[in-house]
């Protein structure tokens, strides 16, 4: 299983940090890397070593993931998760509020990247961002007209408020 891990690691690394990998697509440039953390003697081991992420947003110095801003960290983590998904494709992908910390420009790049997966997978996306809602072909609202009991309503984009609130008028 050492070989399997090495193969998965290399596939994910290429999907994440390659020249047309997820990182560059989400940031619109820059570069990233995924590497095994060496021990005190500088040795790395496929079966034991931890994994560190280095990211260089466009126009900035390279940094390890802890030193990035909140939004830059989220974009880097989403790029890595999508790179893993790409290495083991599946007919559907579910994303639950991964865009919460992102600003408008980053949400737009995130949506553009999701579109690139559509020839192989369908997506179910839970979000509060209006830009991400515009990406969806259909929207379902989930509300609790009776406290504690969930109801599903079909909504159109215009019926969703500034931030996910659903118009009373939306129908079943």
């Amino acid at each position: 299983s050492r070989v399997r891990f090495e193969e998965t690691f290399n596939a994910v690394r290429e999907n994440f940090a390659g020249s047309s990998g997820m990182f560059r697509r989400l940031f619109g440039g820059g570069s990233a890397d995924l590497f095994l953390v060496p021990d005190e003697e500088g040795q790395t081991d496929w079966l034991e070593s931890g994994i560190e992420i280095r990211a260089k947003p466009p126009g900035k110095e390279p940094r390890v993931i802890n030193q990035l801003s909140g939004g830059e960290k989220t974009m880097t983590a989403v790029a890595l998760l999508l790179a893993i998904f790409q290495s083991k494709p599946s007919p559907f992908c579910i994303l639950d509020e991964v865009d919460a910390a992102l600003d408008e420009a980053n949400v737009e790049r995130f949506c553009a990247v999701v579109k690139q997966f559509l020839d192989s997978s369908h997506f179910i996306i839970i979000t509060h961002h209006k830009t991400t809602m515009r990406l969806c072909n259909q929207l379902y609202g989930v509300t609790m007209p009776q406290r504690g009991v969930s109801k599903r309503v079909a909504v159109r984009f215009e019926e969703v408020g500034e931030d996910g609130q659903i118009d009373e008028a939306a129908s079943e």
């Binding site: 290495s87 992908c93 839970i126």
Partner: protein, 182 residues
């Protein structure tokens, strides 16, 4: 093969029979905080064989049954069904010795146009899995989805908070995330 429909009843906050049709490539789920959006994700993880109550944000598996609310009594059981479209498709035929051609078959190893996968749990503790209405074991469900990329630990489900957990993880924990996907 594609995921066509999700049907829930008595599962977490979905006391009543509820259906989500996935007829479009990108489906959005929206709504206020605490209304049941992430419970939809839990339902999909559960029917695919999730065995850890903690990963469904509960302390025991019985927590998935609708526990009542200010206006409703608790339900006697939870039931979730995933419906997949399972048409004949052409696949690379890498196994045979007379060279690689394509072969017509269904993605899921059941010979029907649609496949229903169901999981039920009753308040007396009885639980069951069903494929197209026939009782099966969890092992049969896992086998059905082998090599399709569908499953509880595959990277196709990024639950709420996974991005934060990934960021707060140390290098060894990050390794564990990659090992799951291997």
């Amino acid at each position: 093969m594609r995921l066509a429909k999700l049907t829930l009843s008595g599962f977490k906050s979905f006391a009543d029979h509820t259906e989500f049709h996935f007829d479009e490539p990108i489906i959005g789920v929206v709504g206020p905080n605490g209304c049941g959006k992430s419970n939809v994700v839990d339902a999909i993880k559960w029917v695919l064989g999730e065995r850890s109550a903690k990963s469904l944000r509960g302390s025991a598996m019985m927590d998935v049954i609708f526990a009542g609310s200010a206006s409703r009594k608790p339900m006697g059981g939870a039931s979730v069904t995933l419906t997949f479209e399972n048409p004949m498709e052409s696949f690379q035929d890498d196994g045979e010795e007379h060279g690689s051609g394509t072969v017509q078959r269904r993605a899921l190893g059941v010979d029907t146009e649609e496949v229903d996968v169901t999981r039920r749990l009753f308040s007396d503790g009885k639980s069951e899995y069903l494929i197209n209405g026939n009782k099966v074991r969890l092992r049969d469900i896992k086998e059905l989805f082998l090599d399709t990329g569908i499953g509880t630990n595959a990277y196709s489900i990024i639950e709420q908070g996974k991005v934060d957990a990934m960021l707060l993880a140390n290098p060894i924990e990050r390794r564990a995330i990659l090992e799951e996907a291997a």
